[in-house]
């Protein structure tokens, strides 16, 4: 390490806000990564689940907050809890089933039993702990847990502002718009693609708000689309849409203006690629109005909403990042559909998801390749900055924060601004 390597106390050297330059060290330094886990992932709201993933009383799902394994569960009254997956006795995980239904969690080591709300209920042979052993002080470690429109977030920070305030009115509005792709039904998780990428988590944080890469990285995906759909994804050439900083590190990238509000433009003709689906729905007896609403919803929303630090609402799916190490990040692409909606519509959504997403999609592998190439590239030229200054030239005030060209790096600047704010605490 050279003497002029930026120290963590020198946050301006790590992210130069005025010129929008990111230091190479930001992707490379294990000690900085550890500090990020403390100051960001243990401090803010982190997405852990969608409510449909554990729909019933006693349903649970394993998740992670930063590097810590957690259980997200609904108790007998339907209340949602999130707690660290670690027995209070000698630290064994109390659950290794990824998803399921239970009436309690029992540690496999010495049999300590916990209720669905994490409280300690049973200790075998308790006499050896003496009379003053207080079970109420030995429940599973709980996180603050709040949900907005089906999206469940948890935080280790007891003092944190309410989730709705952290999101803010603009983000909440976009979440509500995004969830309209239920097409009149509740949104339901249909499955997920998972892949690990040898990259720092911030490389991924940048990507979902990056329209600039789309025609380059995803050319081979575009080549498999029909003309009308290819035109729909041609937002960069058309220059429509924008990226806007929504505060607290969040941002939105609007790509397809006609799909911003799925309840609007319902009279527009059904695209050719959905003609077969529409006919199938008509044949099943759905009235024309509902057919149009469902078909429109199948194509997904026209924007990416990026929440700091770990979840994106991207067109038609959720993208979740989990930092594993300074140079490894786990990615989940969660497919969503219509709970109780027509099977044909959900099948169409599943096939669209498989087309682009996941280890064998026509899009994700190319994303994963360039993300890894960033991590490989930063091994060289450590004095060179990473540029996130694109679009500063004509950025204007938007409704919530700066708004830039569709290919501007405004969303990345929003995220790094928040990064700096949290790291300076």
């Amino acid at each position: 390490m050279s003497l002029d390597t930026p120290k963590f106390s020198d946050l301006d050297a790590l992210y130069d806000e005025e010129n929008a330059l990111v230091a190479t060290l930001m992707y490379e330094d294990p000690a900085l990564f550890d500090e990020e886990m403390e100051k960001i992932f243990k401090t803010t709201w982190v997405w852990v689940a969608h409510e449909s993933e554990f729909p019933d009383k006693g349903s649970f799902k394993l998740s992670q907050v930063g590097q810590e394994p957690v259980i997200v569960v609904r108790d007998r009254k339907g209340k949602i809890h999130c707690m660290v997956n670690r027995c209070r006795h000698r630290a064994a995980t109390v659950c290794e089933v990824k998803k399921g239904k239970t009436s309690s969690f029992q540690c496999p080591y010495h049999g300590w039993g916990y209720a669905l709300d994490g409280s300690l209920r049973a200790v075998p042979y308790p006499e050896q702990y003496g009379d003053d052993f207080d079970k109420s002080q030995h429940g599973l470690l709980k996180l603050r847990t709040e949900a907005y429109n089906g999206m469940v977030f948890a935080s280790f920070n007891e003092e944190i502002e309410p989730l709705e305030d952290f999101l803010g009115p603009q983000v909440r509005r976009y979440i509500d718009l995004f969830m309209k792709q239920g097409g009149g039904f509740p949104v339901k998780v249909l499955g997920e693609h998972q892949f690990a990428v040898p990259m720092n988590w911030k490389v991924q944080l940048e990507n979902t708000t990056d329209a600039y890469h789309f025609p380059v990285v995803h050319k081979s995906f575009m080549q498999t689309l029909d003309g009308a759909t290819e035109d729909m994804f041609d937002f960069l050439d058309k220059g429509v849409g924008y990226v806007e900083d929504l505060g607290n590190g969040h941002s939105v990238m609007t790509m397809i203006p006609e799909l911003m509000d799925l309840d609007e433009n319902l009279d527009a003709p059904i695209p050719d690629r959905f003609a077969e689906l529409a006919q199938e729905l008509r044949d099943e007896g759905y009235p024309e109005e509902q057919v149009k609403k469902i078909v429109r919803a199948v194509s997904g929303a026209g924007f990416n909403l990026n929440l700091f630090p770990n979840v994106s609402f991207s067109l038609a799916f959720f993208r979740v990042l989990t930092p594993i190490a300074v140079d490894r990040t786990d990615i989940r692409h969660i497919a969503i559909g219509m709970d109780g909606g027509p099977a044909a519509a959900n099948q169409a959504r599943l096939r669209l998801h498989e087309h682009f997403q996941g280890p064998m999609g026509f899009g994700s592998p190319d994303d994963a390749e360039v993300w890894e190439r960033v991590q490989r590239g930063t091994r060289g030229g450590d004095s060179l900055p990473i540029l996130v200054n694109r679009g500063l030239v004509d950025e204007e005030p938007g409704e919530a924060g700066p708004r830039g060209h569709i290919s501007a790096e405004t969303g990345m600047r929003a995220a790094y601004k928040m990064w700096k704010r949290m790291m300076s605490q």
Binding site: Q223, E354, P365, E369
Partner: protein
Amino acid sequence: MTEMSKIDSRALLADVTEFIWAEGAMLDAKDYDAWLDLWTGDGLYILPIGEGEDYANQLNLCYDNAKMRRDRIGRFQRGFSISSAPPADTVRTLSRFRIEAAGGDLIEVSCAEHLIEDKFGRQRTWAGNAFYTLKVADDGFKLHRKIVRLLNSDGMLNSFSYLF
């Protein structure tokens, strides 16, 4: 199987094994045009996630009909996909062949598949169970259905620039 004599079934096992080995060699050699010709028109190539068998109504890693297979191969071949230009090199071993059922012109075969990929000087290992439905044709067999269940299909994977 019951109507087949032992000698018939041994001959059939040798024939399907030869066919599946040849298919595996095509995939390692990335001889994809030849691979596409192995398929029936309504054949399905599926890599499921988890244990489910209702492939149409669940999320899979891939669920390819003839068009998706052609598009997938086109994407590999045209050179615009950075993850497949160049792709990882692969070597696979197919073994533990069993004829699960044979009737009419359809034969169901299962086998074990081990695959090692090499890219960026890094090797990764994958293992799965492969299930084939072969259709008897004039000049041998056609692939009618091929399902490969990776052992960790519902776990954290990496992206694939080749086929299993």
